[in-house]
């Protein structure tokens, strides 16, 4: 059996991981805007400084969770100490919010359509 060079194996693994990574699978931001309007916009605004029942999602990707100064977060989210990376958003939004962050105020059943989730996260990445 022919052995593959170690470097090629490593490159294949890294490339495969990148392909599988949510951040690498760029979604359709236009479709994501529609997903946002359907799934999120009643409780969240993308305008800077505009909070609804939920905090503004302006600049959400890369923001430490629970840190907007003028929004009253749940203790659960303030103490989560996580960063809203694309990967974290993917994990958080793909399941019920109460499961992803027990004690959160957020009422959301999760988005189980992978394409819509990718599109949504891509769109949120443009909101800054």
């Amino acid at each position: 059996m022919t052995k593959l060079p170690l470097g090629l194996c490593a490159a294949t693994l890294v490339f495969g991981w990148l392909l599988a990574s949510p951040s690498a699978r760029a979604g359709d931001t236009s479709a994501g805007s529609d997903v946002f309007k359907t799934e999120c916009s009643e409780c969240h605004s993308v305008k800077q400084g505009r909070n609804k029942k939920g905090p503004s999602l302006f600049g959400i990707v890369g923001r430490p969770a629970g840190t907007l100064p003028d929004f009253s977060y749940s203790d659960a989210l303030r103490q989560a100490h996580w960063l809203w990376t694309a990967e974290k958003l993917h994990s958080y939004l793909s399941q019920p919010a109460k499961q992803a962050n027990p004690g959160t105020k957020m009422k959301y059943d999760g988005l189980n359509d992978p394409k819509q989730l990718e599109d949504l996260i891509s769109y949120l990445g443009t909101v800054h």
Binding site: S33, K37, T38, S45, R50, N51, K52, K53, F71, S72
Partner: protein, 456 residues
């Protein structure tokens, strides 16, 4: 408002046209709208709760599923940024052009809303309404009231459960789906006699806003809604104090029970519901008279296509049957030996379709129909209470959305056409005047109006 029409009919048939036109336009213009105080409280846009950013085309709050949840939660949701003053106002200027009679342009309505949360569990809505009644005169009255206590985020059999109490003055106004006549201000207007069902606020002597009651409601697993309640009519002296002409007294209502059950499904891009509603009472009208037993039983269906909110279609159908067992059988003052029937039935149907583009431009089309048991004594002059009418409205609501420059104010311009094709069961000579006299067709009751409303 239609009871006012009926009173005028009995007194001065010659003025019928004028009052019909006014009544039709009041029907079209007086409805629940988006309340800016709610927007300030929640940080949300009016368009989050209403398909049209001002609340409605001609009639009905046209609630989105999110708006229904806000109502179910007792108007208590908040952005968490401190106390907001729960007060709003609305002014409406209307140009009215009836098919017969002079046109007019007036400030037709000025409203004060006390609406919002008191605490996480207590909130409410109350509307104080001043209506133009002619000659620069306004009549101020207490319109719809809905005060709530709600316990949220309960669990029942492991499912989400919301339990609440509503104290209100209009059976069905508090309904979350908001397609019943009390919530939409949309019901077939009747002719002479005690036409129309109890649940139809366009009926003669309708109980709406002239009673007080309480109901207990629950929402199970986000989909199943149930409500039971009871009401009593206000004494005529209290109706007078609250701004209502006692000629429209619904009578003494006793043993009054109300129920509502509905299945509602929010699919985010679509919504549908199917519901049952019932109202039963013993009515003495006049209050010293015999007691009639009245029972309303209805069903309603609704569907919404919401999509990404660019193109919204809302369809609702309400069908209410009222069974009546009269406490007396009066004799005809005109035909010797003719007596009224001891039982009867009335049947009100309303179909409404609304399309909204970008939550800014909209058109609403409604078909209203009322049919009842023929009774030559009770339903003068033709013995037939049947009415068929249509409403067509177009509107423009430029503000009230997320990207609007302000959430402190809102505006709507609407054009509404209300037409009758049958009245008093007739399609010609609807008041049964003798041969040789000028007759009236249903179309003579039509009216067109253009209104501009601002809310703040």
């Amino acid at each position: 408002m239609l009871s006012f029409l009926n009173r005028r009919v009995r007194r001065r048939p010659g003025k019928m046209l004028l009052w019909c036109g006014i009544a039709a336009l009041l029907l079209a213009s007086t409805t629940a709208q988006a309340i800016p105080a709610f927007a300030r409280q929640t940080g949300a846009a009016c368009a989050d709760c209403h398909a049209g950013a001002y609340g409605a085309g001609a009639n009905g709050p046209n609630l989105t599923p999110y708006g229904m949840r806000f109502k179910l939660n007792g108007y208590t949701d908040t952005d968490g940024q401190g106390f907001k003053i729960p007060v709003s106002g609305q002014l409406t200027e209307t140009h009215t052009a009836p098919a017969r009679g002079p046109s007019s342009t007036d400030l037709t309505e000025a409203d004060l809303y006390l609406a919002g949360r008191i605490s996480d569990q207590v909130g409410g809505y109350a509307k104080i309404e001043a209506d133009h009644v002619g000659h620069d005169t306004y009549n101020t009255k207490l319109s719809n009231v809905d005060l709530r206590f709600v316990a949220k985020e309960l669990k029942l059999n492991g499912k989400d459960f919301t339990l609440g109490v509503s104290v209100n003055n209009n059976p069905g106004f508090d309904d979350p789906i908001a397609v019943l006549p009390a919530a939409t201000s949309l019901g077939p207007p009747g002719g002479q006699g005690p036409t129309g069902t109890l649940l139809n606020l366009s009926s003669a002597n309708a109980p709406a806003d002239r009673l007080i009651g309480a109901s207990v409601y629950g929402l199970y697993d986000s989909d199943w809604y149930g409500e039971i309640g009871t009401y009593r009519s206000l004494p005529t002296s209290e109706q007078d104090h609250l701004g209502y002409n006692i000629a429209g007294d619904p009578g003494r209502l006793s043993d009054t029970g109300y129920f509502r059950f509905a299945y509602m499904k929010d699919l985010k891009r679509q919504f549908f519901s199917a519901g049952l509603v019932g109202l039963t009472t013993r009515r003495q009208l006049p209050r010293t008279g015999p007691t009639d037993n009245l029972t309303d039983l209805g069903y309603d269906l609704s569907y919404q296509f919401l999509g990404n909110r660019e193109n919204i279609v809302q369809v609702s159908y309400v069908n209410i049957l009222e069974k009546r067992k009269y406490g007396s059988t009066p004799v005809s003052p005109i035909v010797p030996g003719l007596t009224a029937l001891s039982r009867g039935a009335l049947h009100d149907e309303t179909l409404s379709v609304t399309y909204t583009f970008k939550q800014t431009y909209g058109v609403q089309l409604a078909h209203l129909e009322s049919n009842g048991t023929r009774d030559a004594v009770r339903f003068a002059p033709l013995g037939n209470p049947d009415t068929t009418a249509n409403l067509l409205s177009i509107f423009w609501a430029p503000f009230g959305k997320d990207d609007s420059f302000t959430s402190l104010a809102n505006m709507k311009i609407a054009a509404t056409w209300f037409r009758f094709t049958r009245f008093n069961g007739a399609t010609n000579n609807i008041f049964g005047v003798p041969l040789g006299n000028p007759t009236t067709k249903p179309g003579d009751l039509n009216a067109f109006s253009v209104s501009a409303s601002v809310a703040f």
